[in-house]
Amino acid sequence: MGLEAKLTKDGFITTTIDAVIAWARKNSVYPMPMGISCCAIEMIAATDPKYDIARFGSEVMRFTPRQCDLMIVAGTVTYKMAQVVRRIYDQMPEPKWVIAMGACTSSGGMYRSYNVVQGIDQFLPVDVYTAGCPPRPDNLLNALMTIQAKIGKTKARDFQDKPMVDLELARN
């Protein structure tokens, strides 16, 4: 095997901390499944053996935001739900990324209506938008790979001066 053979032969490798951390980080992106409506079904389909999101190290859907790196907002976000989405996002530890999955989350989609937020980028920093209504699992995997490429380019100094978000956890 390539890596082991190399390691046992020389006993060490040279690299940078940034490269190792970014490599580890991008291959263990734990998603927060924010499945609000029908897109959630395609998100679940992406975890099944046919599409198998585990190939990208993201099979561990964590149902607590405190163990997640990536929020997949899958579904129509109403104004009422927006408060909840943001609250869950705030509870995720830094660094964190967001996928806006599907037409509704990206732009309001077919719900051009008073009660649906016309794009979650009005209150969340979105990294990748996914087209489709709903997007096929392949499309979600493509979004994940785009996120991985983005994470691969990060350096430690990108996160150093980030202020800790004051969480109002006592209220929960």
């Binding site: 104004y79 009422k80 943001r86 051009r112 209506s113 008073y114 009660n115 209150f123 969340l124």
Partner: protein, 164 residues
């Protein structure tokens, strides 16, 4: 006597003057009743041994926008005895849009009336818990009224602040 005749005759016999309109459009019987007789009529329809409309399936409203009586509340009620769904209507004016609650007759109407209050701003007197159903607390408008814009009123519902 068939079911419709039975219902029409019993209601007319009891509330001759309060019956404003009876229509039978596409096999759906609807009876419009005067606003002040609503509670009496609902009690009668439920408790009369020949009718027994014991189930309230839906309460909703119509906004006619330009009519003198701007709103109409609509009650869909069902009789297991007759296997029949009857539509009961009450015309109410715009200012104030107030009608008696039928929760005392059909307990199931509680949430239907809350929804109607939320969407049309119709106030139901003697309702035990008249709060909004779908829209957030503190929202000032009633979205299914004809004068409410489709995309809502900007800033009427708060969003979390955008980060960074």
């Amino acid at each position: 006597m068939d079911t419709k005749e039975l219902i029409i005759n019993s209601v007319q016999e009891k509330f001759s003057k309060a019956v404003e309109e009876i229509s039978d459009f596409r096999n759906d019987l609807s009876i419009t009743i005067a606003k002040d007789k609503l509670l009496d009529a609902t009690k009668f329809l439920k408790e009369d041994s020949n009718l027994q409309f014991v189930m309230c399936k839906d309460v909703t409203a119509i906004d006619w926008a330009t009519r003198k009586n701007r709103f109409t509340t609509v009650y869909h009620i069902y009789s297991f005895k007759l296997n029949f769904t009857l539509r009961l209507k009450v015309n109410i004016e715009e200012n104030p849009p107030v009608v008696e609650s039928v929760v005392s007759v059909w307990a199931s109407a509680e949430w239907y009336e809350r929804e109607t209050f939320d969407m049309y701003g119709i106030e139901f007197l003697n309702h035990p818990d008249l709060r909004r159903m779908y829209m957030p607390e503190g929202f000032e408008y009633h979205p299914l009224r004809k004068d409410f814009p489709l995309l809502g009123i900007p800033g009427s519902m708060p969003l979390p602040e955008k980060m960074e």
